[in-house]
Amino acid sequence: MSLTATWSGLRHTVWVLRGNLVTAIAAAAAILLALVAIFGPMLVPYDPVASDVPRALQPPSALHWAGTDQLGRDVFSRLIVATRLDLAIAVTAVSVSFVIGTVIGSLCGYVGGKLDRAVGRFVDVLMAFPLFVLAMAMVAALGNRVENIVIATAIINLPFYIRFARAEVNIRRNLGWVEAARACGDGHVSVVLRFLLPNVLPAMAVQMSLNLGWAILNAAGLSFIGLGVKPPTPEWGIMVAEGARFISTGRWWLVSFPGLALMLAVLCFNLLGDGLRDILDPRMRT
């Protein structure tokens, strides 16, 4: 039974990808990003932290595809190596808030009442802060370290997952098939775990993909202002920050290439999220 379901799911995915070029490209790009994150450091042409001052601030050339920075380090190598850290921060943060947010949100949506109100208040307080400012304050409070960037990003993502899961569960909890499950002998716990969650998860996965892009931007923003990751660690946000000093004198490559890397990573996850929405929608299956 489940084997045929998996098979039909796979066939459906291929079918959607065939009909949707953009999603297929985004999926390929996401896989490529993951590969770069895993194997990139082994493949780069130069040591990303080795300085070579005589070759400082060279524009892109055949030797240095993305030019060199103020210490003569190869920008391209640094970009590739940075992928792992940037993705790791975003993926960890989003996964943490996804798991915690989904559990709390579905519980609130299904149970309602006092628990729902209390959590709602807490979420309201979190949402009353501009989220980037909140993340900034938390990193400052918890200590200027990479783990804390992850924690801060996870916390500012949390309200969205809680609200989203709550809303998705809430609109379904009084539907006929949920009541039918209870009439068929399922208790509340089983209804939530075996019926509501599987129906809510696809939408949450879409949300997760869209959120990944946002988390990448946030983490890069934090390190841009000097929080979290410290130089000389290669990281996209820091690379932009370091290149910023040279933009007024026309050294465009120092900002553009890490900026482009950020943009492509975010774009890829956003497009993938939009595509996932179509794939996971069972109504689209024929």
Binding site: R121, F122, D124, V125, A128, F129, P130, L131, F132, V133, L134, M136, A137, M138, A140, A141, L142, G143, G213, L217, A220, G221, F224, I225, G226, L227, G237, V240, A241, G243, A244, I247, S248, T249, G250, W252, V255, S256, P258, G259, L262, M263, L264, V266, L267, N270, L271
Partner: protein, 343 residues
């Protein structure tokens, strides 16, 4: 039946219901800053001659020797009196620093919001009126790309193009040229103060200085605004009541504007509130890129030297502004949508 009365009642009620959130914000900010692992007393006392005794003095000065609830009480009392502590960095009261710098941040954020709305709403409407047309695809592409470029990158690229390459923009540091004369500060908003002083040239200079950072920030939020406008306009145009409007032969303008757009604008108002919050956050980045002398860059400088009173004050200020903006959005929504008044 007085709709104004109903709006007032609603505003009051919403204000009351936002008080707990505001209180939560206060407690949260307090806790956040007290969890600071580094001992600020050690930090500020640290000089060549810093001994244990000196640290104790600073600790007592800062009230750090008391219990947590006591400290919270003192903190709340101080905030109630408008006392946000003193910045070690500038040596001034934080409240005064913030008051001086807030207009710069608000001027930037509000200008950006206006630019974004002026650009996004017509774009969204046009795209919705001709779905799948060239303009629709163009808007969609722009939106997809717009949310992907971080403000600090787009800001720097704008500087590269308009300052370095084209030479159209002035030196991208600060609100005004270092040598220019500053108008008497009446509102703190340079654009207004120059006008009040009748200094057109100064106004133009300030406006030019404002353009790049404002566009940087606007670029980032045009995408979500245009996207929601397009989506809600499509829903509106496909709704039963627009079909009714067509069935009685109303003019196209009336159908699109009075019936479809007025309904479609409701979700845009809500999203605009969220967008404003994003912009308050993006302020930190944009002010850093353009050396804009606003509250965010002030807090950031303080944060990097672990001067925590300004950071605390800034976070509190941002949250209060945001609560106030939400209240405003809510009131606007109540005026725009009669259904909201009954709730």
């Amino acid at each position: 039946m007085g709709t104004i009365g109903a709006t007032l009642i609603r505003t009051g009620r919403r204000f009351l219901s936002s008080l707990p959130a505001l209180f939560g914000v206060l407690v949260f900010t307090f806790l956040l800053m007290r969890v600071l692992p580094g001992d600020p007393a050690v930090f500020f006392a640290s000089g060549p001659s810093a001994g244990n005794e000196e640290i104790e003095v600073v600790r007592r000065q800062l009230g750090l020797d008391r219990s947590l609830p006591e400290q919270l009480g003192i903190y709340l009392y101080d905030v109630g009196r408008g006392n946000l502590g003193r910045s070690m960095m500038t040596g001034q009261p934080v409240a005064k620093d913030l008051r001086q710098r807030l207009p710069a941040s608000l001027e930037l954020t509000l200008t950006a919001l206006v630019i974004a709305l002026i650009a996004a709403v017509p774009l969204g409407v046009l795209a919705a009126l001709r779905p799948n047309s060239l303009i629709d695809h163009g808007v969609r592409l722009f939106c997809s790309l717009g949310v992907c470029v971080p403000t600090f990158v787009s800001g720097l690229l704008l500087i590269y193009v308009f300052y370095y390459l084209l030479g159209l923009a002035p030196d991208p540091t600060g609100r005004i040229d270092v040598f220019a004369s500053v108008p008497p500060a009446r509102t703190g908003f340079l654009m207004v103060d120059f006008l009040l002083a009748g200094d057109v040239e100064g106004w133009w200079a300030a406006a030019r200085q404002l353009m790049l950072p404002a566009f940087t920030m606007a670029l980032f939020v045009i995408a979500p605004l245009a996207r929601i406008t397009r989506a809600s306009m499509l829903v509106s145009l496909g709704s039963d009541f627009v079909r009714t409007a067509r069935s009685i032969g109303l003019s196209r303008w009336q159908i699109v504007v009075t019936y479809a757009l007025r309904n479609a604008i409701l979700p845009v108002i809500t999203i605009a509130g969220i967008v404003f919050s994003t912009m308050l956050g993006a302020n930190v980045l944009v002010e850093k890129v353009f050396s804009w002398p606003g509250v965010a860059s002030y807090a950031l400088d303080a944060l990097l030297v672990s001067d925590y009173a300004p950071v605390q004050g800034f976070v509190l200020l941002m949250a209060s502004i945001f609560v106030a903006v939400n209240l405003l959005v809510d009131v606007l929504y109540g005026i725009a949508d009669p259904r909201a008044t009954v709730v």
